[in-house]
């Protein structure tokens, strides 16, 4: 029983990290069809923001609270710059954005290497998060509970943003039909920029969260980006609900297969499952239907 709970928790915890890394990606992918490979490096930037803030402020607790909004800003600004300088002119070439943003990610990685050094650095945990907490009589790391909670807050906040605010309405309008939205007076350009800001900002937040469970290095982004993409693909592009289900599913599967085999074999099995799943539902868990010869 204890094993089951701790496994279940490990799976959900992994899923929450994946979701945090993927949710911003899902937003920008769904909104603009842009595949941002540099999203992983925005996560990395968020992690280094947390590291830098802690170097300056000292206190682990205070700096965590400061880093979360600050990393959102850092990630968001990076996203804004990327959108305004490059991606804006490439919306009709989605596959090429993938490679252009890969180039950006190479540059950002090397920048991190030159500024912070290639070896990984660690962010100290606040007292409160360093010990275990008991869930159903099973000890689990408090930091992972915090990430789970953070993910819930972020996803809930994003859902509210999409359903309740005017930005959310504009985003949904632009996703459904760019022309129609333009015609009804929505500036798709401003909406694009704002969406990119929010999506990339969420990557920064994910970066802060990741410092709580591991060390930070310039290649941090590459470890998460592929899995984050798998979450987006399996969940259905641009679908928050799908991303949540897919992240939880992939996290649980990964942990489940790891239990029986090794982490590397589990990873391969999970990929095979995703490919097999796309056989059944090529458009992901939550599909948007389109008509016509496109």
């Amino acid at each position: 029983m204890e094993i089951l709970i701790s496994q279940l928790f490990a799976g959900l915890s992994l899923g929450s990290v994946l979701l945090l890394a993927a949710v911003g990606l899902s937003l920008t992918f769904g909104q603009m069809g842009v595949i941002n490979m540099a999203h992983g490096e925005f996560i990395m930037a968020g992690a280094y923001t947390a590291f830098t803030v802690q170097q300056i402020l000292g206190s682990a607790g205070v700096s965590l609270l400061v880093s979360l909004p600050l990393a959102f800003l850092v990630g968001g600004l990076l996203g804004l710059i990327l959108e305004a300088t490059l991606l804006r002119r490439m919306y009709h070439r989605p596959l090429d954005t993938l490679l252009v943003t890969f180039g950006v990610s190479l540059i950002l990685q090397q920048l991190a290497r030159d500024i912070f050094g290639a070896p990984s650095v660690d962010v100290r945990l606040p007292e409160l998060l360093s010990g275990p907490v008991m869930i159903f009589g099973t000890p689990v790391p408090a930091s992972r509970v915090f990430i789970l909670a953070l993910t819930v807050v972020v996803v809930a906040g994003l859902s509210l943003l999409m359903s309740r605010t005017s930005l959310g309405r504009r985003i949904r309008a632009v996703v459904q039909s760019r022309e129609l939205a333009e015609a009804s007076g929505i500036s798709s350009r401003r909406t694009d920029a704002l969406t990119f800001f929010v999506g990339s900002g969420l990557a920064g937040v994910a970066g802060v969260a990741i410092t709580l469970i591991g060390s930070t290095s310039p290649t941090l982004g590459t470890t998460y980006i592929v899995d984050a993409f798998l979450v987006v693909v399996a969940g259905g592009i641009g679908q928050i609900r799908g991303a949540v289900i897919a992240a939880a599913g992939l996290g649980l599967l990964q942990v489940f297969f790891e239990f029986g085999t090794t982490a590397s074999i589990a990873k391969v099995i999970v990929l095979v499952i995703v490919v097999a799943f796309l056989q059944i539902r090529p458009q992901g868990i939550v599909a948007t239907r389109t008509r016509g010869l496109a």
């Binding site: 070439r93 987006v232 990873k267 796309l278």
Partner: protein, 411 residues
């Protein structure tokens, strides 16, 4: 059927190509190379690789060039699937790695046998006492070569069919292929007993009984590599001008429309993907004796994507562009990476941004553009395909590649 009243063909082709200068930034287009251009291109390549290089380069330089040629084989395949087929294959490192590891396993075993041992040293150090069956299979050279050819092609066939027949395409395919490369590298690192983990396999003494330390043997090895690459180029040239090549472009531009002409696009795409996988695997297999080591660092996500930049620079939809671009990037890489490692990474990143972002047709499109601006370069609305503008004399084989008409993005 007798001729009906035909519509008055008053409307001239609506191109405004002369005015529309920055059409290079629009798309890959289609490049065609006639038989004469192909012969010239292959001839120059053969002279350079088979005569000039062995005479002028020392053993070290030849090894380095051999390494570039092996990487260029992957690029040829990428040009086929990506430039012509529109499939952004971001995981070709997998097939490169499959070919390489099969070859490396075979060579390691052969060396082990020569030394009178029964299992490779690294396995003994890991406490393995019996040779794993996976290794035993490739002990025989014929089986090893067969495996190098068949295994990657079969994997690509299965995976390609699974993906393409369900109409998973575009970004989905790119991401899946990338995930495949990630998983493959993780798998190899995660099985140190079988693969020696992240150290990879190295220190080979011989290939099919030939001493790899002997400089004469190394020269032969280089020549074999060069001939195989030239053969691949000849094959792709034939593919590009064949009906299959035309159909592939049709699938790239309008997959659904092809379906309504009675073809199954999944089949066409899968075949192209398998050919690219085969080329990559052969490149990988030859890489091992030429370079002397294969490790997960050569086949993961980043090296897999890095294969793409040379293809993009040279012109993804051209015949020789991918090869030339790939060799140029490899060359620049070795020159810069040791002296200025950090600068090289920045440059690589910048190249992706600038070339893909602003020059998607690659350098080849610049040549096409320059040629078009010359008055005789524009052959009017109806060219006769095989005899266009005469090839410029010059030692750059890229000159033999020319554009039939401007890549017009009419949308």
């Amino acid at each position: 059927m007798t001729t009906t009243a035909t519509p008055p063909a008053t409307t001239t082709p609506s191109t405004t190509g002369a005015r529309k200068l920055p059409s290079v930034a629009e798309g890959p287009g289609v490049w065609t190379t006639g038989p004469r251009g192909a012969l010239i291109g292959l001839g120059i390549g053969a002279v350079l690789l088979l005569v000039v290089a062995p005479l002028t380069l020392g053993g070290f330089g030849l090894d380095l060039l051999g390494r570039y040629l092996c990487m260029a084989m992957v690029a040829v395949g990428i040009g086929l699937v990506w430039g012509r087929g529109g499939m952004l294959a971001m995981g070709q490192g997998v097939y490169f790695g499959l070919g390489a590891y099969i070859m490396a396993m075979h060579m390691t075993l052969a060396d082990t046998t020569l030394e009178g041992e029964s299992i490779p040293t690294f396995m003994r150090q890991n406490g393995v006492e019996r040779l794993p069956e996976l290794w035993g299979i490739v002990q025989h050279p014929v089986i090893a070569v067969a495996a190098i050819i068949l295994v990657p092609t079969a994997v690509a066939g299965l995976l390609g069919w699974a993906i393409f027949s369900r109409r998973v395409k575009g970004a989905y395919f790119a991401i899946l292929s990338q995930a495949l490369a990630a998983a493959f590298a993780v798998l190899i690192i995660g099985q140190p007993v079988l693969t020696n983990g992240s150290n990879g396999l190295s220190n080979f003494q011989s290939l099919f009984g030939w001493d790899l330390d002997d400089s004469g043997n190394r020269l032969v090895l280089f020549l074999v590599v060069a001939v195989i690459l030239l053969a691949m180029l000849a094959v792709t040239w034939q593919l590009y001008r064949s009906r299959f090549g035309e159909l592939l472009v049709a699938v790239r531009d309008q997959e659904e429309r092809v379906r309504f002409l009675g073809y199954d696009p999944a089949l066409i795409k899968t075949v192209a993907y398998m050919i690219a996988a085969l080329f990559a695997a052969i490149g990988g297999a030859l890489f091992v004796p030429v370079v002397g080591i294969i490790s997960p660092a050569d086949i993961g996500v980043v090296p897999s994507i890095a294969f793409l930049i040379g293809v993009a620079i040279g012109g993804r939809a051209t015949w020789l562009g991918p090869v030339l671009g790939s060799i140029a990037v490899s060359f620049a890489g070795t020159q810069l990476a040791s002296a200025f490692p950090s600068a090289w990474v920045y440059l690589q990143g910048l190249l992706f941004v600038l070339v893909i972002g602003f020059l998607p047709g690659g350098l080849a499109s610049v040549i096409g553009l320059l040629r078009r601006r010359r008055p005789e370069g524009r052959g009017g609305g109806r060219g006769d395909g095989s005899a266009g503008a005469p090839d410029e004399p010059g030692d750059d084989p890229q000159d033999t590649t020319r554009e039939a008409t401007e890549p017009e993005a009419a949308r």
